[in-house]
């Protein structure tokens, strides 16, 4: 029998206490749930902003020779959209999810290093503001793309403070991510409750281990790259040497490829949890999936050079070999997901719909990733819309669908109320239609030769129809996101008025420990009068329900 964790909070006998419910209580909180919520909510707001920027781009490209956005403004918009989605939305949301859920899933009353976790949030929030403040500078925001290669990003070709603010903003946001990554990793490794052995950790926690190992291993390389870029902007002669131009690319992509998996594993794991819960069975192939996550993460540290095939200055054979080797662990994970679903009678609620759509859509992103990881194909499609399509299938059709599966799945735990199912389904179908209508034509555009990052194209290029389709898809995406925003705001408003549909503590028949505590969970996660159930496997609540069922 596992004992419930007793908590021994230090008596607060010094310093001026801050009221818990006020804004001061929120901004200086050490409650991992509040920090996780702040991180996730900030990134969701930024997601909407980045979506608006995407709409501006699709509007500009919907017709040939359009002049709605000038070339320089277009460059700023795609740079901030790409930077924002990666540094400020998908990565922080993934870590915020970990900050919120990991202590609950491991049975701990709090996160390790809570003050550093909070500092991580504030550095991220200030970093986001700084990056966006570039739009208010006389020369506008940074405009050299999310990876900002020198010499394009140096002071000669990208003058103005907008670029400097971009460097500062990204530096702060990534530093915040590293701090939160350490906290989440330490919590899983060293703060587990009794009975929670490493091989009884939920799949989500294992995904967070792999994610955080990549964060602490790879993210400092970006800080080094940004420092190099800042030094090069101060002293232009630095980038006169090709060694540092290529050196920057190595530093950047050493971060830039693992971050793709940082933006993928937590969402994959959220999908895995959703599939298992809505199929009413434990996740298939648990040990294989755990091993594949760790191998996948290690391999992901070795493939960065495939982004540099076209430079002719990378060991192409090695990077191509490791990139293709990624298929093996990815296949194991897919096998696990399919094995969980096949033969089951799934309940098709909104989180499950998003999780099911994740499987084929991410597959398209993954398989085209293998294509661009092969030098002969990469030479043909590099810097074309094919790459844009590939990365959006990975990060939007894949990860963002995992993100929404997670939001719909854990929203009742976080708030105590359920989102509206009908609006959730509408959101889902608009997103499925919009995603595929927007990004599928981009494969063809890239194959036909449309380069990425061009603000317009000529009518005789023949790109008009496919771009128009992508524009219509983007409008559907906007409609879907509007439905989501209305759903969330309406539900929260009804909750405030006491009219929302209460979710109960375990509305989905969950498998992991967070569903054994009230919704929303109390400050120390598990109330003293409700001891934790025995941790007998990675799905302790499923075990408990089955035991109770067999007893009955």
């Amino acid at each position: 029998m596992t004992l419930a964790p007793s908590t021994r909070a230090r008596p607060d006998d010094s310093g001026r206490p801050v009221p818990p419910g006020g804004w001061l209580g929120w901004i200086s909180t050490t409650d991992h749930k509040r920090v996780g919520l702040l991180t996730a909510a900030t990134s969701l707001v930024l997601l909407l902003l980045m979506g608006v920027l995407a709409l501006l781009m699709r509007g500009q490209l919907a017709r040939p020779e359009e002049t709605f956005l000038g070339p320089h403004l277009y460059d700023q918009v795609f740079t901030v959209h790409g930077s924002g989605m990666i540094y400020l939305v998908m990565t922080p949301f993934a870590l915020g999810l970990g900050v919120y859920l990991v202590p609950l899933q491991t049975g701990a009353p709090g996160i390790a290093l809570p003050r550093l976790t909070l500092l991580g949030y504030w550095l991220y929030a200030f970093g986001a503001l700084t990056l966006l403040a570039g739009f208010a500078t006389p020369t506008g925001a940074h405009a050299a793309g999310w990876f900002s290669y020198p010499p394009l990003a140096d002071a000669e070709y990208s003058p103005g403070t907008g670029s400097d603010l971009w460097i500062v903003g990204v530096f702060l946001a990534v530093t915040g991510a590293i701090l939160q990554g350490w906290a989440v990793l330490w919590t899983i490794l060293r703060r587990r409750t009794r009975g929670m052995t490493m091989l009884r950790l939920p799949v989500f926690c294992w995904a967070m281990i792999a994610t955080c190992l990549m964060v602490i291993g790879a993210f400092p390389a970006l800080l080094a790259a940004l420092t190099l870029l800042a030094a090069g902007r101060a002293d232009a002669s630095l980038f006169a040497s090709n060694a540092w131009n290529i050196g920057y690319q190595h530093l950047f992509w050493f971060y830039g490829h693992p971050v793709v998996y940082v933006m993928f594993f937590p969402y994959l794991a959220a999908v895995a949890e959703v599939l298992a819960v809505f199929c009413g069975r434990r996740f298939f192939g648990y040990r294989g999936t755990v091993l594949s996550l760790l191998v996948f993460a290690a391999l992901s540290m070795s493939v960065w050079g495939h982004h540099m095939f076209a430079t002719g200055q990378a060991a192409n054979d090695y990077y191509s070999l490791t990139s293709i080797a990624l298929l093996v662990p990815a296949g194991v994970e897919y096998f696990g997901m399919l094995g969980t679903v096949l033969g089951a009678r799934p309940r098709l609620r909104t989180p499950m719909l998003f999780a099911l759509a994740f499987i084929p859509q991410f597959l398209i992103g993954g398989l085209t990733g293998i294509m661009v990881g092969t030098p002969v194909i990469d030479y043909h499609v590099t810097d074309s819309y094919f790459v844009v399509a590939h990365l959006h299938y990975v990060l939007f059709a894949g990860s963002a669908f995992g993100l929404f599966a997670a939001v719909y799945f854990w929203f009742p735990k976080v708030t105590g109320v359920l989102l509206d199912e009908g609006m959730g389904r509408l959101h889902f179908w608009l997103l499925v239609a919009g995603t595929n209508l927007t990004f599928l034509p981009m494969f063809a555009l890239g194959y036909l030769g449309m380069p990425r990052r061009v603000s317009t194209y000529a009518a005789f290029d023949g790109f008009g129809t496919l771009n128009l389709l992508a524009g219509i898809g983007a409008a559907l995406l906007a409609a879907g996101m509007a439905v989501f925003v209305v759903n969330v705001l309406r539900t929260l408003h009804a909750r405030r008025l006491g009219r929302a549909r209460p979710a109960g503590d375990d509305p989905w028949d969950g498998h992991t420990l967070e569903w054994a505590t009230p919704s929303p969970p109390p400050r120390l996660n598990f109330p003293a009068d409700r001891p934790l159930p025995p941790v007998t496997s990675f799905a302790p609540l499923l075990d408990l329900k089955r035991r109770e069922g067999s007893r009955a």
Binding site: A9, R10, P114, R115, M196, G247, L294, A314, A315, Y318
Partner: protein, 119 residues
Amino acid sequence: MRRHPSAVVVAGWALLNGVLLAVLAVYGESPLVYWLWGGVVLVLALAAAAVLVSSRSAPDQHVRYRVPDRGAGAVPPAAAGLLLVALGFVYGHWLLCVAVPLLGVSAALAVRGTTARER
């Protein structure tokens, strides 16, 4: 090592990175890459050592926890101070005149232990 599985996970992952780096050396790359990835393997090895030291000094799983929250009020001013230090590289080092006092306030709040009383 079965008694310290969490340290084994981190050490194993560092080792896997080391193996992949060794294979890269067979193919040949620029010296920067070896320094970069080698440094990361070293950081991961240190992280594994830290987990091992922690595992040896406390149980692998817990029934009693410490939930530290003293001095959390120092965090927002510390973050604002760090932001101003970073902005000093853009707008000039005069911003340190604001950043340093802010970091001082943060240090004072940390020492005083100001925190949100959350229940």
